[in-house]
């Protein structure tokens, strides 16, 4: 439990808490230095190579290799668009908001370098609509960066043109899904698209498009500063580098912690988070946002390595968005499951039948169960309804009858209840509680 943070993307905001978001504060701490070097070198392919070598994986939740994603762009097809996914809405995830509010120049620099790498001259930041302060600071950062010649026509005399449009969302979790985000950016209802075609081939305005998360792009200037191979030395196995972990719930010290991959959940919850409040016992925790299966207070789970592939292969869940939600012994797991189901029912876009109808149904059954009106058959009903959305009942990676993963996400709490709390809940139902 002697773990300390390894600050890379959170370094500036830690170092200059009072003005990290201003152009002066940022430039004073090295902002846009990587950009200068990249433009001076004049080799977009090298940026791609460095990012590929770094092993960077998307920090939005899918953990897909960033270098590989960029490589899918069809050669010679222009214009191309870079779209930044800043629609952070996964319950308990609050790291991108911090990066946008407190280090917008780091993001802007990451966007410019990445756009340069993929030969794009117009980038969009799709920012969650509710992030009013983040919007103020990001638009200010863009204005200031433009004024200093980091953005716009002929960046720093390099001949490279790039502009950034900040596009505010308006309250829809599903727009965090990249194709729904593209739809929304096109002025449509945020309903996910069929894949294929994937955005790299036909994305925004049917043009080749890369969609990357805020944290992912905020990492890019550091990869260029350190070199891809150096960056890859941080972390463990194929989980390279650091990760911002958004820790919340019944811990003594909730917050964002930048950790090196390879630590354990125990390190994070009991080390950085300083353990459970009021001296209570840990009951269960959600290891990667709200959409994946829960883990509980056993050594196998707590001492599991914080490594994307290890967790997926051994624990049947994922590190998702990097959020960890901690619940102590006072928590009713049925209430948590119900509230998550209510969330997914509310946020379902309504496009696919199983998700549109199934999430609402599951929410209604869980509500009954959590409020003393459960029936003995309800548990089996939940599992069966859930299997209509995710036939393998949401073990990661889950199968789905829906277009996008939102539907199956509602099945994770059910599967988790079934796995860890079935006896407790059945006893409650029988007692009529």
């Amino acid at each position: 439990m002697t773990i300390t943070q390894r600050r890379i993307v959170s370094q500036r905001l830690y170092e200059r808490p009072d003005d990290s978001w201003t152009i002066d504060g940022a430039v004073a701490t090295g902002a846009y230095e990587s950009l200068r070097a990249v433009l001076a070198a004049g080799d977009p392919a090298d940026v791609q190579a460095q990012v590929a070598a770094s092993g960077l994986r998307g920090r939005g939740g899918a953990n897909f290799s960033t270098g590989q994603k960029w490589s899918f762009l069809p050669a010679g097809s222009y214009p191309r668009y870079l779209v930044v996914n800043g629609d952070e809405g996964e319950p308990s995830t609050f790291k991108d908001r911090m990066l946008v509010e407190r280090d917008p120049h780091q993001l802007v620099e990451g966007i410019i370098i990445s756009a340069y790498a993929i030969e794009c001259s117009l980038a969009f930041v799709y920012l969650r609509g509710e992030f009013a302060l983040g919007h103020d600071r990001l638009t200010q950062a863009i204005t200031d960066a433009r004024a200093r010649g980091f953005l716009g026509k002929n960046v720093l005399g390099s001949g490279f043109d790039i502009d950034i449009v900040v596009h505010r969302g308006a309250g829809a979790y599903i727009c965090g899904e990249e194709t729904a985000l593209i739809e929304s950016l096109e002025g449509e209802r945020g309903m996910p698209r069929l894949k294929p075609p994937f955005p790299a081939i036909e994305g925004l305005y049917a043009k080749p498009t890369v969609v990357n998360n805020v944290e992912t792009l905020s990492t890019v200037p550091h990869i260029m500063r350190m070199g891809g191979e150096e960056y890859a030395k941080i972390g463990v196995n194929k989980s390279t580098g650091t990760r911002l972990v958004a820790l919340s719930g019944h811990v003594n010290k909730p917050g964002n912690y930048e950790v090196e991959f390879g630590c354990t959940f125990r390190d994070i919850i009991f080390g950085l988070g300083e353990g459970i409040r009021d001296g209570n016992e840990l009951k269960f925790f959600l290891p990667g946002g709200a959409s994946f299966q829960w883990l509980v207070n056993i050594d196998e789970h707590l001492d599991a390595m914080y490594d994307i592939d290890f967790v997926q292969q051994n624990l049947g869940t994922t590190l998702g968005s990097g959020a960890i939600m901690v619940f102590d012994e006072t928590t009713d797991p049925l209430a948590v499951a119900w509230r998550l189901a209510k969330f997914y029912a509310h946020e379902s876009c309504g496009k696919c039948t199983p998700c549109r109808e199934g999430t609402g149904w599951i929410e209604k059954v869980l509500y009954r169960m959590a409020n003393g009106l459960g029936r003995k058959s309800d548990f089996d009903l939940l599992i069966d309804v859930g299997s209509g959305i995710s036939p393998n009942v949401a073990t990661a990676p889950f199968t789905q009858t829906t277009l996008c993963p939102l539907g199956p996400s509602v099945v994770s709490p059910i599967a988790s209840l079934d796995k860890y709390f079935r006896d407790e809940i059945m006893a409650r139902i029988e007692a009529g509680l």
């Binding site: 946020e347 696919c352 609402g360 149904w361 789905q400």
Partner: protein, 858 residues
């Protein structure tokens, strides 16, 4: 365009190997090979969206469960469409769809023909485990006067919203809200007034969308169905006409690849109402002491016969004239042509009422087929056709928007397809002749690399002048290489009537009176000695007192002829008017004898569409009153005039046409009964395209169970009967007429700085009898107004909607004025309505153009 045949692949579906075109959608390949994969959102004529998740299958080597509706087939693909997992998923989707569905099937129009009901029976669970409260919405709500929405029944398949946007180009409905509150809605105050809205009711897989006209009118198991062609315009969409208790209750679109792809316009779909209108005249009437009195058929026919005999004896046969005949069947038209030309001996016969094109142009131009639009080098529009030939507009829209066919838009006023045009030029009346030069110099810009024909849709963008301008344009266009025409005449069976000889100077089968004289004299006994007059000339002659008997075959010149004043003088100037009609009109007010005829739906026969395709129309109900088929009325009159046509059944008329009419040789009633998509005339040029079935044709839905939501197809009980033998005309048959393109060299009328050139366009819901006697159209009828370009509007200096005085050389009317950027500078647009305040008062039918002055009211 030279198309390379698609690569063939082998796929295995549930253990059966199937050969298919590579890239074809799995759901379609399966269906065509007898495996019906259940679905709700997929519709063959729209882009797949994969939303309802009913058609998920398993494919070896593919993770998860791809939807069959979005999966293209590839070689070696092994598909499981009925595995246990797939069945479990289908069960699940159906249960999900049903949890919030009201299950009010007993009071739902769709009950008994509901895909949700049927698929639940076939694929679904037996009972619901949903014990919670279902969602509730206010219901039903009108999306338009024609379409009602029950949001509780809706299963969010987006068929209606996709149709509105993708097919009709009228995105007036969309999803609103999200999650399980997702609903379809129009915008407040903007109803779903698409001309194609009824298609959404037909393709709705539940009873969420219902038609105000059909609601609670019938149960599907009580309906009798006949395959037919619509007669609301000259496209003649294929339809399934349904009746209950001897009343027509519904027309559904049938999917015909060459004609309508399953779509209908609302005028056609809901225009069945007039057949049972309270206003129908059910018995013959004769005028006695100035008043019309009911009479027996023999009485009425005898009076007509005597008057014709008297007039012919006194003034010669040319004193008898016949107007109309575009509303009936080919058989009706032929019998009347034979009566007029072979028995009475008059050539003053015209089925067009001054808004079409001269017969020699329509009959003599190189023709295109509707489907040629899909592969054309370019489509050229001289006029917007949405108001006049709505489903042709859909076909052009698809070709231009989906298939990338370049559109050359030369219409006088911008319209819905203008935004998709590759080239646009506003050719206002008097300028249409520039079309050919425009095309000659500009076509290569948009059509280079494309091979084949240019398809020109030769319409009248305005009836505010004579057809001379369009005729000149046609002559010049026809001189260009590889140009073919679709003549944009709108009246239901105008092409059938023209082909039957209901035009001056022509005899049946597209032959001139001169060329066909011997052939028809031999068979009919005689033909007219002199060339007769067209509609405008007939009316002029009538006004001058030179027409002594005027026979109106479903024609109402007072309301319908562009020059209303002339028409009124004409009717007033004829001593003896015979009306063959179903309703009293402004023109029949003057009738001396009224003979009630049957209407579409009450009579069998054939009609011919814009491309020259002959197809069946069916009798689905017994005629109202003592109404008689037009061909039978002609036969009865002929008999009284001493000529026995010897027609006992309509088939005998069809078969005489197939023997006598050069263009129709071989097109017998027996062939038409088995030709799936009818026969394009002349048969000898199109024999290879005809799909002939050995058995009687019948209408089948794809799954053989539910009519009316999957595209309805016409199929025979037996497989194809093989290749058609091309029918050869006898060597002595007269040749078909080809237009020599000799046109009078008219000057180009200039516009002065103060006048606006008048454009008077037809509107879909007009004052014709079909539209005006069908109740549901009443709120949709447009009132007349004047639209001008914003700059001309600004010059007037009046408020929007203010009344202004519009004067032509003929008359002055007063209408509200609006600005409209679609209207070019210097042009005044008025929709054609027959109100006394309408444009018809301004028009001089003989003038090459009409110019008007607009003044603010004092």
């Amino acid at each position: 365009m030279s198309a390379t045949p698609p690569e063939r692949v082998i796929v295995t579906i549930d253990g059966v190997e199937i050969e298919a075109d590579k890239g074809e959608l799995l759901i379609k390949v399966a269906q065509e090979n007898g495996v019906y994969i259940p679905r709700f959102c997929w519709h063959e004529r729209m882009k797949p969206v994969g939303m309802c998740r009913m058609c998920l299958v398993e494919v070896d080597g593919v993770r998860g469960y791809p939807p069959a509706c979005t999966t293209p087939v590839a070689d070696g693909m092994n598909v499981h469409a009925t595995s246990d997992t797939v069945k479990k998923i289908q069960d699940g989707v159906l249960e999900f769809l049903l949890i919030n569905h009201p299950l009010d099937c007993p009071v739902c129009d769709r009950g008994g023909e509901c895909p949700l009901q049927d698929q639940t029976l076939a694929f679904g669970p037996g009972e619901s485990r949903f014990v919670e409260e279902k969602r509730h919405f206010e219901k039903p709500i009108p999306l338009s006067p024609l379409v009602l929405l029950d949001r509780e029944r809706c299963i969010q398949c987006a068929r209606c919203t996709r149709f509105a946007d993708e097919i009709a180009g009228d995105p007036l409905i969309d999803f609103v809200d999200r999650s399980d509150q997702t609903q379809v809605l129009n915008f407040a105050g903007e109803p779903f007034n698409s001309y194609f809205s009824g298609n959404t009711v037909q393709i709705c897989p539940v009873g969420a969308l219902t038609a105000s006209q059909y609601r609670f009118k019938a149960r599907p198991w009580d309906l009798a169905t006949a395959e037919t062609s619509c007669n609301a315009c000259a496209v003649q969409c294929r339809g399934a006409l349904q009746s209950s208790s001897n009343r027509l209750v519904r027309l559904l679109g049938v999917d015909s690849e060459p004609v309508n792809h399953g779509w209908l316009c609302d005028k056609g779909r809901y225009g069945i109402g007039w057949v049972h209108s309270e206003d129908r005249v059910l018995d013959p009437h004769v005028r006695v002491s100035g008043e019309l009195h009911e009479a027996s058929w023999p009485e009425a026919l005898d009076i007509v016969t005597e008057e014709i005999q008297r007039v012919v004896a006194a003034h010669g046969p040319s004193a008898v004239a016949v107007l109309g005949g575009a509303r009936g069947t080919n058989e009706d038209a032929y019998a009347w042509a034979r009566l007029a030309k072979g028995v009475i001996g008059t050539d003053s016969v015209d089925c067009q009422l001054g808004d079409g094109l001269p017969a020699e142009v329509v009959l003599g131009l190189p023709r295109a087929e509707i489907a040629d639009i899909d592969t054309a080098v370019a489509v050229v529009l001289l006029a917007d056709v949405e108001e006049s030939l709505p489903v042709l507009h859909l076909r052009i829209r698809r070709a231009v928007v989906e298939l990338g066919v370049p559109l050359v838009d030369l219409a006088p006023v911008a319209h819905k397809l203008t935004e998709f045009a590759a080239l646009s030029e506003r050719l206002v009346p008097g300028e249409q002749h520039q079309a050919a030069e425009f095309l000659r110099t500009r076509l290569a810009e948009v059509a280079s690399g494309r091979e084949g024909d240019v398809v020109v849709v030769l319409g009248r963008g305005s009836v505010g002048e004579s057809s001379a301008g369009v005729v000149r344009a046609a002559a010049a266009l026809a001189a260009l290489p590889n140009v073919r025409f679709l003549s944009g005449l709108r009246r239901g069976n105008v092409h059938g009537a023209l082909d039957a000889g209901l035009a001056p100077g022509f005899l049946p089968g597209r032959v001139t009176a001169a060329a066909g004289r011997d052939w028809f004299t031999n068979r009919w006994g005689s033909v007219p000695e002199t060339t007769g007059a067209d509609a405008a000339a007939i009316l002029q002659a009538a006004a001058d007192g030179k027409v002594h008997v005027l026979m109106l075959l479903g024609a109402d010149p007072v309301n319908d002829f562009p020059d209303a004043a002339l028409a009124q003088r004409a009717i007033d100037g004829v001593p003896f008017v015979v009306a063959v009609d179903a309703f009293h009109t402004a023109s029949t007010q003057r009738a001396d004898v009224f003979l009630p005829c049957t209407l579409w739906g009450e009579k069998a026969g054939h009609t011919t569409n814009i491309e020259g395709r002959v197809q069946r129309v069916s009798r689905r109900v017994a005629p109202e009153g003592t109404a008689m088929d037009d061909w039978r009325i002609a036969t009865e009159l002929a008999l009284r005039l001493g000529s026995d046509f010897d027609f006992a059944t309509v088939d005998e008329v069809t078969d005489e046409i197939a023997t006598l009419s050069p263009a129709h040789i071989g097109v017998t009633s027996a062939l038409l009964r088995r030709a799936r998509d009818g026969v394009v005339l002349p048969l000898r040029d199109h024999a290879g395209e005809i799909i002939v079935r050995a058995g009687e044709l019948s209408i089948l839905a794809d799954d053989g169970a539910t009519l009316s939501w999957d595209p309805i197809k016409v199929e025979g009980a037996e497989p194809d009967a093989g290749e058609m033998e091309p029918a050869e005309a006898p060597s002595e048959a007269p040749p078909q007429y080809e237009w020599d393109r000799a046109t009078p060299a008219a000057g180009t009328p200039g516009r002065d700085g103060y006048a606006l050139r008048l454009v008077v366009g037809r509107t879909l819901y007009d004052n014709g009898v079909a539209a005006s006697h069908t109740d549901v159209f009443a709120p949709l009828r447009r009132t007349a107004d004047l639209r001008v370009n914003p700059s001309d509007f600004a010059r007037l200096g009046v408020e929007r909607g203010a009344h202004v005085r519009i004067s032509s050389a003929r008359s002055t009317i007063s209408l509200p004025v609006h600005e409209d950027a679609a209207v070019p500078v210097g042009v005044a647009v008025i929709p054609f309505t027959a109100d006394t305040d309408g444009a018809a008062m301004l028009i001089d039918a003989t003038a090459p153009v009409t110019d008007v002055r607009v003044e603010t009211r004092q």
